[in-house]
Amino acid sequence: MKKLILKQQKDKPAIILLPAKGKFQIVGKCYPENPKEFFKPILNWFEEYFDNDPLPETTVEIIMTFFNTSCLIALRQLVILLLEKGKQHNVKILWYYYPVDDEILDEGKRFKFLLNNPKNFILVELKDDKKIDLLP
């Protein structure tokens, strides 16, 4: 499976989908002009990945510090897709948050609640880093 790497931008997160290293990450801020368009290749990539010999365990790390509502809707689609694939494959979704950043924690809790508390959707506290810029 080919990797998918997208560089982080001011309004777009970094996308690191590197099965050779067992690394699946979305990192940064997300409020692009068209989130649906931005997420489309990511959703397609995961579809193809699970269709073609995925790793025995796939851990997707979502390390977001800011997003708008249309990005949240796109993220919902991604999480639903991953949970769906998790019925046949070993999939874990880690939703990271900084302890100072209630918003991201709350959105994680919201997802967990709305998706009927899936065991493989896990909230993970990051070490507080004063240097990280949590505003867009």
Binding site: E33, T69, D102, L114
Partner: protein
Amino acid sequence: MLQSIDTPQILWDLLSATSIEDMNYIYKGQFSEDIAHYLLLLAERNIERNQLKGRLKKRVFHIMVESVQNITRHQDIIEEHNEQKAMFAIQKFRNIYLVTTANLVKKIKVDYLKNKLETINNMTEEELNKFYKEVLMEDSFTNKGGAGLGLIEIARKSGNKLYYDFVDFNDEFSLFYMHTYIYLDENQNKKIYLPRIYSFDFIKELHRTLEKNNILLVYCSVFDQPSLISLISILSSQIKGNLPFRKKIIGTLVEMLQNIMHHGYIRIQDKEHKGALGLFYIAYQNRVFTLNTINYISNDKIKQLKSKLHYINSLSIDDVEKLYNEQLMNFNDDDSPLGGLGFLEMRLKSRNKLKFEIKTINERISYFSLKVEFKLS
């Protein structure tokens, strides 16, 4: 019933006289290096959209840089007052860029400055170039930091006079206004008629309105993704409060500005980005941040918009939360004319009702003004 929103009349005047190719951008407050950077980025974005080429773009940009630096240089001396008073305004009308600055100066310097400005204004292009070299040499010897050099540069690059005014501020300080413009078409007849919003007097009046209402920034132009990114970067550092509070405001800001970008009626045709004409301002008074956007909407959208907003305002926060969750799980059409989860998010984040106003322009279009308030606890 409409929630009344008291957007200052001068801002309505500003928007109604701004066409989609033009720009009005007024920033008042603290001038740090970072902020100067993003102010210039925002202006640069407009210059790019207008496809300004090499040399002209450089000239316009140079004037803006010198003007901002003129403010930051003075700021060090009297930081305390200047924080609230200093202003940088950039406007574009057809092929004219206009730059206006305001900052406090010590009264004892007023005569010196007047003198300098008069000297510069009375010089021919040739004399200015000579004077520039002289001052440059002088400065490198005396190491005075070249406050005068900036003024000469602005005059040289603009090719026009530096209009100025000094207004009493207190016993010690005066407010120093400076205004100049640059024609992008060097061959054009310079007696072009400028609408009122581009006059020196209008900008001074606007500055007083900004003062009175504690408005930090006014942006009236096309809202597209690049201008949104610059605006957000400028404001991120300006908003007080703890992180969750600031994130709520910035989050709401993104929703409001993208609403204009996606749904505004008067739109640009740009291959790369969507964009629409509107006005945005942010004010901070009595521990309340106010975000206000105004854009054009088609009259056939009004009924639906009004009923959606009235409905959201009629719900308790708990019910808004429920509706938000429902919509989040079911929402599939991001081309919805109502902007998806945006309004719900604004209501949830601000914990306040969304104030709005619709003003009819003609049988086809109206203004839609939306105001969201945040109380700093």
